[in-house]
C-alpha cells in the first residue's frame, strides 16, 4: 500500500468519507471539554475579571486564521509546482473555514477590546494586519468564484494565496515589531508560559477542537469539489448512483 494512492481523487474521496465522522465527533467532544474548562475550571482573572474568558475563543480562532492560510499556501505551492489536482482542491476547501475563523478572531477581539481598551477597534498593526488577512481570504474566494476555467482559477487563486502569505509573519510578529495596543503572544515556545496552567490547557483544548473541526469541514467540502470535477469519470458516476 502506497501513500500516493491517496493523491488520486477517487481514492481520497473514499478515505475522506471514512475519516469525517472521526474528526467531527472528536472535535465536538473536545469543544465540550474546552468549554467546561473555559467556564467552570478556569478561575476569575484578577485583572480582567470574567471578560478574559473571551481568550478561549479569541486565541484559538486567531491561530487558526493564520495556520489555515499557511496550509492553503502550502497546497497552492504544491499544486503550482507539481500540477497535482487534489492540492488545488484542498486549497479551495480550506478557504471558507479560514475566513470564518478570521472573522471570529476580529469579532471576539472587538468584544474584548471594548471593555478592556475602551474601543471596539483601533488601527494598530496587529488588528490591521488581521483585517488584511480577512480581505485576502475574501479576495481569494472571489477570484476562484469569478474564473470559470477551473485550471486557470486554481492557478490564479493559489498565486494570490502565495503572495498574500507574506502577511502571516507580519501578523504574528506585529506585536514585536511595532508598538501596539494588542498584548504580546500568550504562548512562546522559547519561554515558560506566563499564564495559569488551567487557562493554557483550556486554550489548547479549544485550539485542537478547532483544528479537528477544520479538518472535518474541509474534508466534507473537498469531497463535493472532487465529485463536481470528476463527474465525467466512471467511478464518480457509480458513486452518484449509490449515494
Amino acid at each position: 500500500m502506497n501513500l500516493y494512492t491517496y493523491a488520486s481523487p477517487a481514492n481520497f474521496y473514499v478515505l475522506a468519507g471514512k475519516l469525517i465522522p472521526w474528526f467531527s465527533w472528536s472535535a465536538g467532544l473536545l469543544a465540550v471539554w474546552g468549554l467546561y474548562i473555559s467556564f467552570f475550571l478556569a478561575p476569575t482573572d484578577f485583572q480582567q475579571s470574567e471578560a478574559y474568558r473571551i481568550i478561549f475563543i479569541h486565541v484559538p480562532a486567531a491561530w487558526m486564521s493564520m495556520f489555515i492560510y499557511l496550509v492553503m499556501a502550502f497546497w497552492g505551492a504544491i499544486g503550482l509546482a507539481f500540477n497535482t489536482r487534489l492540492s488545488f482542491m484542498m486549497a479551495r476547501a480550506l478557504a471558507p473555514t479560514g475566513a470564518l475563523f478570521t472573522f471570529i478572531a476580529l469579532w471576539t477581539g472587538a468584544l474584548w477590546g471594548k471593555p478592556m481598551w475602551g474601543a471596539w477597534w483601533v488601527w494598530d498593526a496587529r488588528l490591521t494586519s488581521e483585517l488584511i488577512l480577512l480581505f485576502l481570504y475574501v479576495g481569494i474566494i472571489a477570484l476562484w468564484a469569478a474564473i470559470d476555467d477551473v485550471r486557470r482559477g486554481d492557478r490564479a487563486g493559489s498565486l494570490l494565496t502565495l503572495i498574500g502569505a507574506i502577511n502571516v509573519p507580519i501578523i504574528y510578529f506585529s506585536v514585536k515589531w511595532w508598538n501596539t495596543l494588542h498584548q504580546g503572544s500568550s504562548i512562546n515556545l522559547m519561554k515558560a508560559p506566563s499564564m495559569a496552567a488551567i487557562m493554557l490547557q483550556g486554550m489548547l483544548v479549544m485550539a485542537i477542537a478547532a483544528w479537528l473541526y477544520t479538518i472535518a469541514v474541509s474534508l466534507v467540502r473537498v469531497r463535493r469539489i472532487i465529485l463536481e470535477r470528476e463527474r465525467q469519470t466512471d467511478w464518480a458516476k457509480a458513486i452518484l448512483e449509490r449515494e
Binding site: 475579571s49 471576539t108 473541526y213 463535493r224 463527474r231
Partner: protein, 63 residues
C-alpha cells in the same frame, strides 16, 4: 465551582454582553457553516445526478 448561581453565570460580573457575544457569534458562525455545507453538498449531488440521468436518456443520447 466559580459561580454562586445561574444568574451569576449569565451575568459574567457585568461582562455578559461581551463574553456571550463572543461565544454566541462563534457558535452561530459554526452552525451556519455546517448548514450551508450540508445544503451545498446535497444540491451538488442532486444536480450531478440529474445531469447524469439526462445524459442517459434518449434525448441526451441523440446529442
Amino acid at each position: 465551582m466559580e459561580w454562586a448561581s445561574w444568574s451569576d453565570f449569565w451575568h459574567m460580573a457585568g461582562y455578559g454582553l461581551y463574553v456571550w457575544g463572543s461565544f454566541g457569534v462563534t457558535a452561530a458562525g459554526i452552525l451556519i457553516e455546517v448548514i450551508l455545507l450540508k445544503r451545498a453538498g446535497a444540491d451538488t449531488r442532486r444536480r450531478l445526478k440529474r445531469m447524469q440521468q439526462w445524459a442517459l436518456s434518449p434525448e441526451g443520447e441523440e446529442r
